[in-house]
Subunit: 427 residues, 2 copies
Amino acid sequence: MSVQDVVIGLAGLGTVGSGLVTLLRDNATEIERRTGKRIIVKYVAVRDVTIKRDIPEHTKLIDNPLLMVEDPEIQVIVELMGGLGIAHTLIKEALLHGKSVVTANKALLAEKGEELFALAEEKNLSLAYEASVAGGIPIVQTLKDSLAGNKIKTVTGILNGTSNYILSQMSVNGTNFDEALKSAQELGFAEADPTLDIDGFDAAHKLKLLIRLAWGVHYPYEKLSVQGIRNMNAMDINFAHSLGYTIKLLGQTAQVNGEIEAGVSPYLVPEKAMLARVDGAFNAIHINGNAVGSLFLHGIGAGSLPTASAVLGDIMSLVKDIYDSTGYVMEKLPLAPMVNPEIMESPWYLRLMVHDTVGVLRDIAGLFAKQGISISQVIQKKKQEDGVPLVFMTYETSMKAMKQALHEMENSNILISKPVAYRVLEV
Amino acid sequence: MSVQDVVIGLAGLGTVGSGLVTLLRDNATEIERRTGKRIIVKYVAVRDVTIKRDIPEHTKLIDNPLLMVEDPEIQVIVELMGGLGIAHTLIKEALLHGKSVVTANKALLAEKGEELFALAEEKNLSLAYEASVAGGIPIVQTLKDSLAGNKIKTVTGILNGTSNYILSQMSVNGTNFDEALKSAQELGFAEADPTLDIDGFDAAHKLKLLIRLAWGVHYPYEKLSVQGIRNMNAMDINFAHSLGYTIKLLGQTAQVNGEIEAGVSPYLVPEKAMLARVDGAFNAIHINGNAVGSLFLHGIGAGSLPTASAVLGDIMSLVKDIYDSTGYVMEKLPLAPMVNPEIMESPWYLRLMVHDTVGVLRDIAGLFAKQGISISQVIQKKKQEDGVPLVFMTYETSMKAMKQALHEMENSNILISKPVAYRVLEV
């Protein structure tokens, strides 16, 4: 066995970048045994080159990542800067200069990916991104290769660890949303600006990539229906629990009669389902395929080493010359046949705050009936300071019918405060 | 996109073989979109060619699978006959004739694999076997590629669906072992001769392959410590439950100070662990790696379509020219540095049936103390027809110390019947 060097350039030395440098050092023997090659990091591009960094002696610190693109010695460029700006230029230039790319940049791939994937295909290069979805969980490879012989029916995932941590804290410790968010920020899970996480956009970025992998179609990111968990009320977590459900933020997509349903939103998940048991900052993905049946993957969805594990797996696959990005033999994927989220049907959980007066339940039931909505369960709770909580579980109902019923309730003076409505996951 | 044909030969048209034929027909569009190729089954080899089979019109039924090896048109041979006889010859001859092989034959690969893998490596061909371990769960690819950058610490799996179904039945429905086995046989999970399943040999075959993938070493199958679930007593399932555990048949392996611990045996698994929640005929594998942390995969471990899903994934990867069998760049793997199972330490669960006489507990405690075994919990149950059940949970103890203590008890007339001892899984 002769050992060759593979020379790579790394852009970004944050959480994941540092993790990668650590792994390349600590697991060097294993890497060499598995690939027959030594991986040498020639450059690390960072914003501030004056800060001392824990990198190998032979590695050059640079502040312009585009310098790496011009160096003929560099075989693979690893983009771990994030963002839609320089990262975008870097990946494009790398591909144009004949270099394969490994990235963990879900936002970029979700919003600008079609252009970059097509460029990689055109140049017969790889654009690898296992680390972009669910950290260390091998979901990209699973959908791309292992399940390649399946017609995928559904993909359902807990794709954002911060949101899941917040929901777990609220569920297990009874903390309210603001406290749980603060705790997530103190532990370093949540960013100072947690918008991407708690408003569902991060999960939506990943969902867009999952749809691409599952069906080989382009579902434009901006068309996805996205609802996060901001201002989630502990009361609903408790009601859900008493009904046998846990509230989770899910990215959900299904192929129904050749069309793609997709969206991110809070769901009530039956407690017996594996997805209900995903605690803390874990991620998990449930896939249903026409051959494999039910497949569930659970692991650490973020953080330094777990994400770097996926980056390194991609680098090693590239070094073995075996990567193609989506697993479909075409430069440009067709547009997905998208189902309007308004007409997607599911059971719903609904919690209303009403006045304690005669006829309220009759009026509400009348508004449901008017929209053809069937009720499977009603729970009326004791009067609280801010009204009487009324909880409904419905049978299959479209968002459109639900919205219309809620709209009429809001206009009828029945409700004291804004209604809360979440989809219920069917398993 | 021009469509090429890939011509394959299939040996065996049992459960999995028929599943593969079904998938090749039903999912043909997806397969072509993902590979750019049409997969044509030229031959199906079966024992009895006079029986009418549901195969494509262009497919030839033959009774000698070795005929396919000589046909220059055949690119890949799929071995789904099972057994160690003709299957062995077929795979060897296929490789010698320059054809890659896909197989689901765990017994063959566990017992004769080193020779076959070395031959494939020497000939620069593929010997793919995703379907051999845990059916549709992509564990081979995960260990081989996705986690390639990890030092794997532990791999723990529920690897035999029949055993797990029997244990689930006993646990949930309170049926006894014989009834549960009979029900498994009636449902078609268990063979008429269930030895391979319930005595742990099938799980051991898979464990041998997992060790190979996790650490790139050869752990001879016949050196594995194997204990099955034959004659499992419902009483122990109940005791375990009252202590917060579920009994599962686990294949377990760990790298400890550079040496490999490995074995198949019943374990008490804490109910909070994901592995405890694997019900019925499902399989699941928990991996711990130094980068990825905890990763858990759960799916259908056997059956027609789930296993065929893995076979087809392998065929499609081959068609894309990207398969190597273990993910290590060497012809022959080194022998594993094996830990003697006798000195592997773990907590233990112990159930004794004793006489209702003064001083019994003192005598037993004395025998434990003599072997340096510390007790963490003792439960004495009400007297039953066949004696008084005494249940112990110990701290970390080697099998050697445990065996010695049990041996002394058996010689001391304290016990009414054979003691029951299972390891307790630490999570």
